[in-house]
């Protein structure tokens, strides 16, 4: 945040052309109406019956008074035609102004948001752990919008004010300098009203926002805690609390509305005072012959036309504040640096065979030690089982091995290369992880399975689905592989979701596949079927299977038992059972559970 809006200014050249076209239209769009008003004044003077009656001495300053002779309806029609022409040109300019300036701001918004998304995609969930997803979304929409408003509408209204206000005042000065000087009073008065009202309006609207949030939190709590409320017969108390919150919101809303009412009344009053000045001072000048009736009307119209850009500037003050806050909130996101760095000179060796070696791996999350001195060798095509209680470090190990989290230098090697030095693209192609929390996208089931790339064809999708025991389920869907998942489509069972995730990993055709406790929701029969299938497909692939279930692990070449981040047991299924340690206990427990299930 070296300079305000530095990043935003960087995008500006890309939208400059359209924006400048819009700005170029401003003088025409807001200047021509002033000319039209002058013509109206002139025509009104022309048709003034008292003016045309040979009043030779009455010529005062200004445009209309000099004409003297009464204007025939035909002449008036001619002037009317000119007015229409000018109005048409002004309308076209107004269109160009709005369309180009607002359009440019929309272009800007689009580029900004795209850049934000690209940045987010370079990060890992850990990097974003301090920000809630809902918050990121609101920044991506509301805050970018706030910055856009500054470039679009705010600039437009400002430019109009810059053209209209001085021109209108100059025109007034030409007609009647004294009256123009008096007119400064409503202009300054209006600016003052807006200035004075801006701060409390902002304060109260913020208060109203906060109280509204309180009300919705109170409602949310009441509804979420409905059982407790009912069990304690505390509904009336919750009602009273809610009412108190509502009362505060009421006060803030009423204060805000009253403030707005007073402000708008003050604006009206300022304008009416301007008209009053025109009536009294201008009327007196007309009587004295220094001004004409048409010019009087012209003054009133100029006043009405020139005041509103000032009101718009009042909005602009609020916009500026919101834009600065929004911009800073966006910069907070942009300033998060990706924790998984790219190697400066990445090793590109393809295909990777999948020989994994972990040596002396010790890791901590923010000073919280998770893994201690983990070492193992997994030859290409070999299989490794990992188990242990919740929180023993299994998932962290998986994330490090697959470089979802940056491991310490030299501790994790694939085909002899430190994973940190491997080209991320090669690494990703070689290693597929089926994470613990199955995440599917609300897209078709086909696209979910083929998520790894557009090169995966229907055949590959079906093969993967069959291996994951998912094909039959899919055939049961009304739209088959094109069935949409999520809100707009079907809701899969936990087991189906996990099998879809497995199919997705298999479709990517990796040389190393990591199953991170991904069969927990699958029933034991299907689990056995999937594992049997996997054995066939995993032929020649390196596999890491993390599981709580002994059944899922028993076929692995080697099994690691983790406890508090350390390997406490290591060996094959049979060896570990014989050892009678934690693994054997877990196996016994699961045997009883199966018995219970069968009863």
């Amino acid at each position: 945040m070296a300079r305000p809006f530095e990043r935003a200014l960087r995008y500006f050249p890309k939208v400059r052309r359209r924006w400048l076209w819009g700005m170029a239209a401003v003088p025409l769009a807001s200047g021509l109406p002033l000319a039209v008003i002058s013509i109206v004044g002139h025509v009104v003077d022309g048709i003034d019956p008292t003016q045309g009656a040979g009043d030779a001495a009455g010529g005062g300053a200004g445009l209309g008074a000099g004409s003297g002779a009464s204007m025939s309806p035909f002449d008036a029609a001619g002037w009317g035609g000119l007015i229409l022409l000018l109005v048409l040109v002004a309308a076209a300019a107004k269109f160009a102004m709005r369309y180009c300036i607002t359009g440019a701001s929309r272009d800007f918004e689009r580029i900004y948001r795209q850049d934000l998304f690209a940045h987010l995609m370079s990060l890992s969930p850990r990097d974003l752990s301090g920000v809630r997803t809902g918050d990121i979304m609101s920044r991506s929409v509301a805050d970018i919008e706030a910055v856009r408003m500054l470039l679009g509408p705010a600039v437009m209204y400002n430019a109009q004010a810059i053209v209209v206000v001085p021109t209108a005042l100059t025109l007034m000065g030409l007609l009647d300098p004294l009256l123009m000087a008096v007119m400064l009073i409503p202009f300054v008065g209006l600016a003052l009203v807006i200035k004075v009202a801006a701060r409390p309006t902002q304060r109260w609207s913020q208060a109203a926002q906060e109280h509204l949030a309180d009300v919705s939190i109170a409602a949310q709590e009441g509804f979420s805690g409905i059982r407790v409320l009912k069990a304690s017969t505390a509904e009336p108390r919750a009602g009273a609390l809610f009412r108190r919150m509502g009362r505060k919101l009421y006060d803030a809303n009423l204060a805000l509305a009253t403030l707005r009412g007073v402000t708008s009344a003050a604006i009206t009053a300022v304008k009416e005072l301007g008209v009053l000045a025109i009536l009294v001072l201008g009327g007196w000048h007309v009587v004295q012959g220094q001004l004409t009736s048409g010019q009087l009307l012209q003054f009133i119209m100029l006043l009405g036309f020139a005041l509103w850009p000032l009101i718009a500037i009042g909005w602009m003050l609020g916009m500026w504040h919101r834009a600065v806050t929004g911009y800073n909130r966006l910069e907070e996101l942009f300033s998060i640096a990706p924790s998984v760095d790219r190697a400066s000179d990445p090793v590109r060796t393809e295909p990777l065979r999948g020989e994994l070696s972990v040596s002396g791996l010790t890791f901590a999350w923010d000073d919280q030690p998770v893994l201690h001195d983990i070492s193992f060798e997994l030859p290409a095509g070999g299989s490794l089982g990992i188990t242990g209680r919740t929180g023993c470090g299994k998932s962290t190990l998986v994330q490090l091995v697959s470089r979802l989290v940056e491991p310490p230098a030299g501790s994790v090697r694939l085909d002899g290369h430190d994973v940190r030095l491997l080209d991320p693209a090669s690494l990703r192609r070689a290693v597929s992880v089926v994470p613990q929390d199955t995440f599917l996208f609300s897209d078709s089931i086909r696209n979910n399975i083929a998520f790894a790339g557009d090169h995966i064809n229907d055949e590959g999708v079906q093969r993967a689905a069959k291996l994951a025991r998912l094909h039959e389920d899919i055939q049961g869907f009304s739209d088959g592989y094109e069935q949409l998942l999520g809100e707009r489509g079907v809701t899969l069972s936990g087991g189906q979701r996990q099998r879809t995730a497995i199919a997705r990993a298999l479709a990517a055709d990796p040389s190393v596949i990591v199953l991170d406790d991904c069969l927990s929701a699958v029933d034991s029969v299907t689990e056995q079927e999937i594992l049997a299938n996997l054995r066939r497909t995993l032929e020649g692939r390196t596999a890491i299977i993390v599981s709580h279930r002994v059944n899922a692990l028993r076929l692995a070449d080697q099994i690691l038992v983790l406890d508090e981040g350390r390997i406490i047991e290591r060996g094959s299924h049979a060896e570990l059972l014989a050892a009678g340690g934690l693994y054997a206990e877990i196996a016994e427990r699961q045997r009883i559970e199966e018995e219970l299930e069968a009863l």
Binding site: S140, Q220, V262
Partner: protein, 636 residues
Amino acid sequence: MISHDTDQYTFNRIGGASDRKLLRRMLVFARPHVAALLTSVGLLMGGLALRLAGPWIIRTAIDGPIATASATRGTPAFDLDALTAEITRLGAIFLGVAAGISLLAVLREWLMNRTGQSIVLSIRDAIFHHTLRLPVTWFDSHHVGWTVTRTTSDVDALSELFTTGVATIAYDILTIIVVLGVLTWLSPTLAVAALLVLPLMIYVSFRFRLKARLAYRETRRSLSMLNGFLQERLTGLDVVRIFRRQQASEQRFAQLNGRYWADNMATVKHFSLFFPMVDVLSWSLRVGTLILGAWLISNERLSLGTFVMYWMLLDHVFEPIRELAERYNVLQAAMAAGERIFGIFDAAEEVGPVPVEQCVAAAEREAAAEDAGLAPGTQKPSPRPESAASQLPLVQFEGVTFAYAKGPDVLKDVSFSIMPGQRVAVVGHTGAGKTTLASLLCRFHETANGTVRFDGRDVLHIPHAELRRRIAVVQQDVFLFSDTIAANVRMGDPSLSDERMAQVSGAVNADRFIDKLPEGYATPLLERGANLSSGQRQLIAFARALASEPELLILDEATSSVDSETEAWIESATATLLEGRTSLVIAHRLSTVVNADQILVMHKGQLREVGTHDELLAQRGLYHRLFKLHLAAAAP
């Protein structure tokens, strides 16, 4: 399961029979404010009259002193002082008018907003009040977020009906009619020109609003797609990384972002076209007026002052026409919100439906009591009848079978009884139906098959309030409110004295951590008590239960792991809580089970074994296996 927002308004839907019915229901809330609403309308009318007065004064000035001046200038009849006086007099009137306009505007804004906000307040209270009285099953099928939206945004949208809605629309229409009337009175010929152009303006305006609304809806749709995509990619960020789909995601995002942009540009185009179009139309009318006016004046059928007044009044027609279409949209949104809100009012309460009006009345009574310094429900619960016939069971389940909604049976033909003073533990694997027993007993759900009796009466015949006063429940997932610790302990009994609160907290070891907090019992809790550990939250729930001195305590022991010190506190607190009290414990702690007078072993919805710890172990059945499982799990 979730009822989705039906935010799709159909157009031209106002005026149907259902809408009239809806309006009538909404007007119930407006009834107490009739006087204020009528006054607002009066103020609006007064404001209108004064706004017409301004141009009239200008006309008088032009046709009066100014015309006289022109006619007499240079002649002896020219009397500057008299003319100045005349203009000053008109200026004074104008000043009065301007002051009146501003004053009326302030009054009107204040009154209309006060009325509108009061109505909002009473609707919001009524709906919250009503919702709390809905059966728990209703909450199972309605998302909390959805319900919250009804009480917040929808109520706000509905309030528009009362603030800027009905009164302003009426005022706009009235303004158009009155001003048109005045224009016709000023010059029928000129008014004909106006009547030719104005319908076109109304048409353009409504057409634009319709298009803008449709375009806006498209924008909302593409925005929600964009947001949905963003949210998914963020939640599934690791999946994106695993399969290295960042670039592909960016491309897809670019498409969606581009669609959102295109929809916005369509809106931009509509707006960019609309305003210049209105300009052209209004200026066509003005030019026509100017030419016709010139002709009328030259024929001496119109005075210049009248012409100027007419000219100035034209603005007063253009403005409401521009606004009218927008207000109509607001009205539609309000009606749609109203429909959703009244949908909740129509959901039946636990004990029969209560008319909306009564809800309002009840909410207001409570508020009045509150204002008078009386917390509601301060009366102590009536002293419980000492169960003279202690041989009668306090709780009795007879052949209870139960299923949630259309799901499978979670309880199958369950029968058992709890004698006064008895401690009963329920054990079983996850999903055995343990928690459902407690729900039926508190009448959160009602069983169709079998009977649940409390103190000899079918729970279906005991009023909720009485039942829940006599039974205290400590849930597994303790729910605390974002209020002070004291308020949470006092949940069931607001009149609980400080001494008693300290006493109960001490009895369940809660004081051990509360006393260490800088603000003690006044410590405010975050949402759901997030600033406490799960063990601390349980201790507060224990204190809450103990304070209410229940006849029956239902305790659903937590399974979440806590540190060993807290574990020891909870264990001794559990003992205190259960001491000499009739209780039903859904047990996870070995000590609780072993010390129970009776153990119910639930399995797959059935009550499979009943007995004491030793009896059941000897049976070597389900309980025996569960016990072994427990030991295996607890093994170091």
